[in-house]
Each structure stands twice: as C-alpha cells, then as structure tokens.
Amino acid sequence: MAKTIMVVDDSSSMRQMVNFTLAGAGYQVVEAQDGLDSLAKSSAQKVDLFITDLNMPNMDGIQLTRRLRAMAPYRFTPIVLLTTESQHEKKMEGKAAGATGWIVKPFQIEQLLAVVKKVCP
C-alpha cells in the first residue's frame, strides 16, 4: 500500500509543489498549514513520513517535531525539515528535537525524491 506523507508548510504553493511531486511518484500526500494543523490531522490518520517547514505561525517545525516524538505512533516515524542554507543552528536544534534529516530550500524535484526514498523507502 502506498505510503502517506504529510507536508507541513504555511506556504500554499510550496505545499502544492511538494504534493504534485510526491503524488506523481506514487505516494499519498496530506497537507497541513502549520504545526497545530499537522498534529490534528496526524492524530486522525496514519502518516509514514513528515516533511515540515521551520518557520510557520502557530507552531513551528521544531516544536512540531518535539510534539510528534512525544506521540506513541510517531516516536520512530521519519521527520524531514525544510531549511534554508543560512539556518545551520536550526538543523542542530532540529536534530536535538528528534528530526531525521533535512532538505535545503530551494530544492530540485530529484533532491526531494531522493531524500524521501532515503528515509522512507
């Protein structure tokens, strides 16, 4: 059965782009607009991989990572952060919070697919 990926980002065009790309590669994609939205939706359905932006209103990516890791079904689920080049400290913070890996924005379609395949084959 196809894996379900949740993409969390407050930019609707970014969500759509990730959605098109992953859906085209055969994944089921669910969108959420910030950390709170993501928590609500992921408690209602099973998610196999989270891809989340860092800067979001209501709840940012790092906080979301911490909260997900505290949830029984998602303690060991891969979480990938979308960062920009200049956010090195954020990567460290993300790791400390339990994130699996990261993708640097802007990214090419192939890069996204490669990382997804890497952490959630």
Partner: protein
C-alpha cells in the same frame, strides 16, 4: 511524470499565493512605517518575504528569488533588532515589492532588470558592510573518473538512533544500491533478552563495497546520522581485474551474462506461470538482476547496467508495495528480458558501441500500485482542524447563483396554482395542500437566497485597502500632507459590484488627494489644519450601499466650471447664464472637462468623472456631487446592495406590465388630476412644495399610434423616481403590487435600449420589462 507540466503547475500555484502575499505586504509595510518597532509586524513582513523567496525559488523563479533575497536581508536585520526601519526603507521596500510582482510575469525579468539593480544598490546602503549574500552552496563534487573503488565501511549507529526516526538498515540498503556489497552485521553488542531495550540500537555493520562511485557518494548515505554515529570509510582503488579477464574483459562479462540470462529465463517462465504473488520468486529474480548489474558495472558495461536498472526498479517497487505481480508487470519484465538478450547478442557479435543503444532503451512505464486485496481501510476521519476558507471557482458559484435565482422565481407558481385549483376546479383541500407545499418551498428558497447572497458578498475593505498607499504616494510626490480616513470597511457588497466600483473609486480618491487637497501653506493661510483629510465612508441604507468620498480641500468653483465648459464649447452662453450653482457643479460630469491647473501624471486628463458616472450607472447606481468653494467636496455613490434578486413595483401602463426597481422609487403617490400642470409640451406635478417633471409611461411606450392625446384619469398614479440629477414623476395607469424579480439582461441586440434594465419572468410565466428610470428621462 511530465516535468514540464509539473513545473508549469508549480509556477501557476506560486503566482496565486504570491499575489496574496504581495497584497498583504502592501498594507503590512505601510503599518510598519507608523510602528517600526512592532516586533509582531516585523516578523509578519519578514515571513511573507521569506516565503516568497523560498517558494518562488522552488517554483523556478530564480531571478525573483535572488532579488527578493536582498529585501529579506533588510527585514531579517530589522527583526533581529540590528536595524531600525525608516520611511526611506519603506519606500524602497514598496518599490521592491512592486518589482517582485513584475518579475513574476512571464517574460517579466528583462524589462525591470535595471530598476532591480538600482533597488539592490540602494538597499545595500542600509545593510552593514559585512553582510554579503550568503551563498554557501557546497561545490558540486567533481565526478571522479569511473574507476572501481573498494570501500571498507564500518557503521555503528548511535544507540538512540531510532528516536530520530532513522532505520539504520535503510542506510545499509542504500550502500547495496551503490554497487556490489558484502554486509556483515556485528551482533556482539546485543544484550540478553531480559535486559534488551527494543528501542535501542545495539548493532553495527561492516560493509565491503565494490563500486564505481567515489567516497563522497558513500559518505552521502550517512549525512543525516554522521554526527552521532561511528562511521569509518576506507577507500582504495580496486586493482585491475584478474589476469584472465584483463586479457578479454568482454569475454568475462559475456560469460557472466550468459549464466545470468539462463537463470533469469528460468525464473521468468516461473513468474509468468503463477497467477498470484510469489514474493519469493520475485526476490530471486531481483537478486539475479542485481548481481548481473553489479558485474556489468564492474566490467564498465554501463548500457546493460542501465537496462537492468529499469528492471530492478520495477521489481523493487512491486516488492515494496507488496502488490500482486500484475500481468502488465510480467509483460514488462518479459520485454526487458528480450531487450537484454538482444543486447548481449549484439555485444557478442561486435565490439561494444554505445550509439544506437538509446533507441533500445525505450522508456518503461513505472508500476502503478494496485493493492492486492483492496479491503477498505475505514473511512478516514475528517481533520479536526477545519480549513478557514475554501477557494471556489467563480464559474461554479455563478452557476449555483443562476439556479438559485430561477428557483426563487419558479416558487411563485405555487400560489397561482393553488388559486386555480380552488377557483377553477373547486378543489379547495388540494388547493390548500399545494399552497402549503409552496410556502414551505418558499421559505427554503428564501434561506437559500440569503445564504448565496452572503457568499458573494465581500467587505468593501478589499477595495479600500489599496487607498492608504495611493494617498500616501500622492502626498509624498506633491509635498502635501494628506490623511486618509476609512469608515465602514466591513460594509459588504456583491463581489461583481466591488470589482466594478474599484476603478471609479480610485479615480475619485485620486481626485480628492490630487486636486482637492491644497498644499500645507495654502491651507495654513486659509486657516485650515496643514494636513488635508480625505474620508472614504461606506454604509448600508435599506437595500442600498452608500459610499462617500469626502475631502476638506478647496472645493469646486461653479464659475470656473462654467467658464471651462464655455471655452470647450460644451455649453452655450445662454445655458451658462441660466445655470444655477447646483447645475454648474453637474458640469464636472461632462466628458472632456477638467479644470486642473496642469495635468499631473496622476489625474487631470478630463476623462474621469463622466466615466465614473457611467460605470456607476451600469451598476444601476447613482452618483451625486456636493461641493463648497474653499470647503471641500463630497461625492456620494448609491448602489443596490445585491445584483441577484431585486425588489420592484409592478405597474401597468397601456395594458402592459412593467417593473420599477425598488431602489430607484422614492415614493408612490396618487394625485388628483388638477395637480398635474402642463407647460408647453411637458407636464409637471406639484407635491409637497416640490415640482416634479412628469412623464407618462403609456406615452413613452405607446404600442400603437394614437391620434390626439389620452385624457388623464381623475386620480393619477405617480411613481417618483430618483435619477442622478433629479427626481421625476412617472405616471402609470395603476400600481399592482410589490414583486421580487430576477432581472435578466436583455441580450446584446437590445443593449442600446436604455429605458430598460432588463426583463424578468413573473410567477405565472409572463415576461415583464424592468425599467431603468435614468434611461427614461
């Protein structure tokens, strides 16, 4: 996946989002100008710009992203407290924001390049000198010559590795995919079952990898875990192949190829024979493919390796999804096998040539996941956090409105039917039931109407929000102080109306700020406050929305208006003489008239006010002007609040039925015959100390020629209607009743008939024409 189509979709999606963000930036930046220390605002602005840059770059707008980066830096410094925002910076930022919008247009880049360069230069002045655009994009690893390497890899993940959502086995598999790998797991760290914590990782791996890939590629496998895990990689170039093969490497490969093909052939027939999934069989097949591929790569035979890659991918996908091996997949595998066989044959026959191979590598379709047994996995529960709003295609909404509108008219048939049943067929019980059903439907239709109208209604704020910026720009450009006050921004109007009044309102506000408000010195001399005030007010009045544009500037001079009109030959001297002040002010609505001292590039070309009035008229609204020399001007626009269903008054004239739109009717009166007077060809009525010109609807729409004049009845039914300029009494034969109608436009061929707004279908199916009072007089 069609990449080009995907990229186009991404660009379109981004454009939509960018439009919203840019509009928001407009108002946020202006707010920031008056509250430059507001941390929340600074963050909002930064986030919006950051999103535009990030998502834009991903969507492919590279030049735009590079330009936006500079603006982002400015606001990053500001939100970190390292820089204070000044009005000059806001000016620049707004300019930049406009340029960003232009960069998003298709082919928008070249035209604005010089402007962008200027802005970047100007921005750089505000940034501390050590701030260079941070482009620490890692240099692309140089591809080593494809030489075989032997990598010795030791990998011990951190014991808590699972808590970062990582499965170390994935990394081992990744290594396997790079070449020919021998994997040994070290289990010496695994404790006894009693003390074993399943959430900890006790394993380590030794991997010997034979691969054409360089060490950098191997390191890449571990990028997410390298900090916390023990990883040792030793790489040595693999010595040239053994003597026998060196003598004839191709022969060595062909040997392996032969064996592999035989094994593959065997499994293939097994696969084709099965009707259900045999994962074991698939796994074997895959194993052979992989070994074959590794050998091919080992021998530098990239072409068969590539062909094999496709097959491997196909099978891997099938195995991962645990789907049934579809007939389609089997066909693909068989075809792939044939192709391989051909290739090996040709290799045998001649020395390897790469050309012509591409044609054999026809794209093979990827496997679509088909669940073997699609047991429903239960309805997915709705997300608890509902979306705040939904974007709806306007066309869909229009269709919905149309159907609802027709329902509202069709429901009127019920009372008529009920009446018929009772009066003509004596079925009073039946008649009552039909009436009750009709009433019920009527209530539902009313609810539906109210709900739909509210969907299309938008607050006028969406139009108002562009004005602060505009007024500010005009003020700054002309060295004037202009304050803009907005009232009633929450007043709601139909979306179409809002779209149509945008331009007229822009013109009016521009006029007020540009021509109306005087310079601070002139104002001070006149004893006025230095800052001029422009007020934009909207409110609901009965069925209408009233919008006022008011300024406390210099006002309009009736004498000058007359003079200009005379100069331009728009009125005759006699008419000018006879005109009173009110009529003189109306001159401003004549096309071609402007009394602006000089034509500024903002307004003043004299095409404005007449267009404003006609645009408002198209929306079935009225425009009135009040002005006091030295005191300012006020323009009042009155519009019907809804376009869908109009309330009207049904009247009869000359045995025909017509509908007057309710919002244009001021009053309905019945006057005794002697209050109608005649003067030359026209008629007048006096009523409550006012004189109204009167016209008779029957005369206007005479259906056949008559000789002589029709006598006026004893009591004249007069509808007093409001047009832009005046109130007119329209005499009808009789008033019938209030109606609710859906006004349908009459069609292109009748568009020139200004007397009618449209037509409507009454409850009994007949057509009545809806009158446009302004077009009558």
């Amino acid at each position: 996946m069609d990449i080009a189509a995907l990229q186009r979709k991404m660009r379109d999606a981004f454009r939509v989002e960018a439009a919203d963000l840019l509009a928001e930036l407009d108002s946020s930046m202006l707010e920031l100008e008056s509250r430059p220390q507001d941390a929340d605002l600074l963050n909002r602005v930064f986030r919006a710009i950051h999103t535009i840059k990030g998502s834009g770059a991903t969507a492919g707008f590279n030049e735009m992203a590079a330009f936006t980066h500079h603006v982002e830096e400015l606001f990053d410094e500001a939100r970190m407290g390292r820089l204070t925002i000044t009005p000059e910076m806001i000016d620049l930022a707004l300019q930049a924001k406009d340029l960003i919008g232009q960069l998003l247009e298709p082919d928008g880049t070249d035209a604005v390049e010089p402007a962008c360069a200027q802005v970047v230069e100007a921005l750089a002045k505000f940034l501390p000198p050590d701030l260079r655009p941070r482009s620490n994009r890692p240099a692309k690893p140089v591809n080593d010559a494809p030489q075989q390497q032997r990598h010795k890899i030791f990998f011990r993940p951190h014991p808590q590795v699972f808590f970062s959502g990582t499965d170390p086995v994935n990394m081992v598999d990744e290594l396997r995919a790079l070449g020919d790998a021998t994997v040994t797991a070290r289990v010496d760290g695994v404790p006894s079952l009693e003390t074993l914590n399943p959430e900890q990782c006790y394993l380590a791996w030794d991997v010997e990898l034979l691969s054409a890939h360089p060490i950098a590629k191997v390191k890449e496998v571990f990028i997410f875990v390298e900090d916390e895990s023990e990883i040792r990689i030793e790489s040595h170039p693999e010595p040239a192949s053994s003597a026998a093969d060196e003598a004839d490497p191709l022969a060595g490969f062909l040997n392996i190829a032969g064996q592999s093909m035989e094994a593959l052939g065997g499994f293939l027939s097994q696969l084709r024979g099965t009707t259900d999934t045999d994962l074991g069989c698939c796994k074997n097949y895959l194993r052979i493919l992989r070994t074959f591929q590794a050998a091919a790569r080992h021998q530098g035979q990239e072409e068969p390796a590539a062909l094999l890659e496709v097959q491997i991918h196909l099978l891997e996908t099938t195995l991962t999804d645990k789907v049934a091996l579809s007939d389609q997949t089997k066909e693909h595998l068989a075809k792939g096998y044939e192709k391989l066989a051909d290739l090996i044959r040709s290799l045998r026959e001649n020395s390897l040539r790469g050309s012509g191979f591409e044609t054999r590598l026809a794209p093979q379709p990827s496997v679509a996941s088909q669940p073997a047994a699609s047991a429903a996995d239960g309805p997915k529960k709705e997300a608890l956090h509902a979306a705040a709003s939904i974007r709806v295609d306007q066309e869909k909404l229009d269709r919905l409105m149309q159907s609802a509108g027709e329902l509202l008219v069709a429901r009127n048939a019920f009372p008529i039917l009920a009446k018929k049943l009772v009066l003509e067929h004596g079925l009073s019980v039946m008649g009552k039931e039909v009436k009750d059903a009709g009433d019920h439907i009527s209530h539902i239709a009313d609810d539906l109407q109210a709900a739909l109208m509210s969907i299309r209604m938008m607050p006028i704020r969406t139009v108002f929000q562009r004005f602060p910026r505009m007024v500010r720009d005009i003020g700054r450009a002309q060295g004037k102080e202009v304050e803009l006050l907005l009232e009633g921004e929450d007043t709601e109007l139909d979306k179409t109306v809002i779209e149509q009044i945008a331009d007229p309102l822009v013109h009016l506000v521009r006029n007020a700020a540009d021509h109306g408000i005087e310079s601070p010195e002139v104002r001070a001399q006149a004893g006025k406050p230095r800052a001029g005030k422009v007020t934009l007010k909207a409110c609901n009045k009965e069925n209408n929305v009233v919008i006022e544009v008011h300024d406390d500037g210099r006002g309009m001079d009736p004498a000058r208006l007359k003079q200009k009109a005379l100069e331009k030959g728009l009125i005759t001297p006699g008419a000018a003489e006879a005109m009173d002040e009110r009529a003189a002010l109306e001159l401003i609505f004549l096309p071609g008239l402007t009394t602006a001292e000089k034509v500024t590039d903002i307004s003043g070309r004299g095409v404005g006010m007449d267009v404003v009035r006609s645009n408002i008229r198209k929306l079935h609204g009225t425009t009135t002007l009040e002005s006091r020399l030295g005191g300012g001007s006020k323009i009042t626009i009155t519009l019907p609040a809804s376009l869908m269903v109009s309330r009207g008054i049904l009247v009869e004239a000359n045995s025909e039925e017509y509908v007057f739109p309710m919002e244009s009717v001021v009053r309905m009166v019945r006057l005794p015959r002697d209050q109608i007077h005649r003067h030359e060809q026209a008629h007048f009525a006096t009523f409550r100390n006012e004189v109204y010109p009167v016209l008779r609807l029957a005369d206007h729409f005479a259906s056949e020629t008559r000789s002589g004049e029709i006598a006026w009845p004893e009591e004249v039914a007069l509808a007093i209607v409001q047009t832009d300029r005046e109130r007119v009494g329209v005499a009808v034969d009789r008033f019938i009743c209030d109606v609710e109608v859906i006004v349908k436009p009459m069609g292109r061929d009748f568009a020139n008939i200004t007397a009618f707004r449209g037509a409507t279908i009454m409850g009994d199916g007949r057509v009545a024409l809806v009158i446009n009072p302004a077009g009558l007089v």
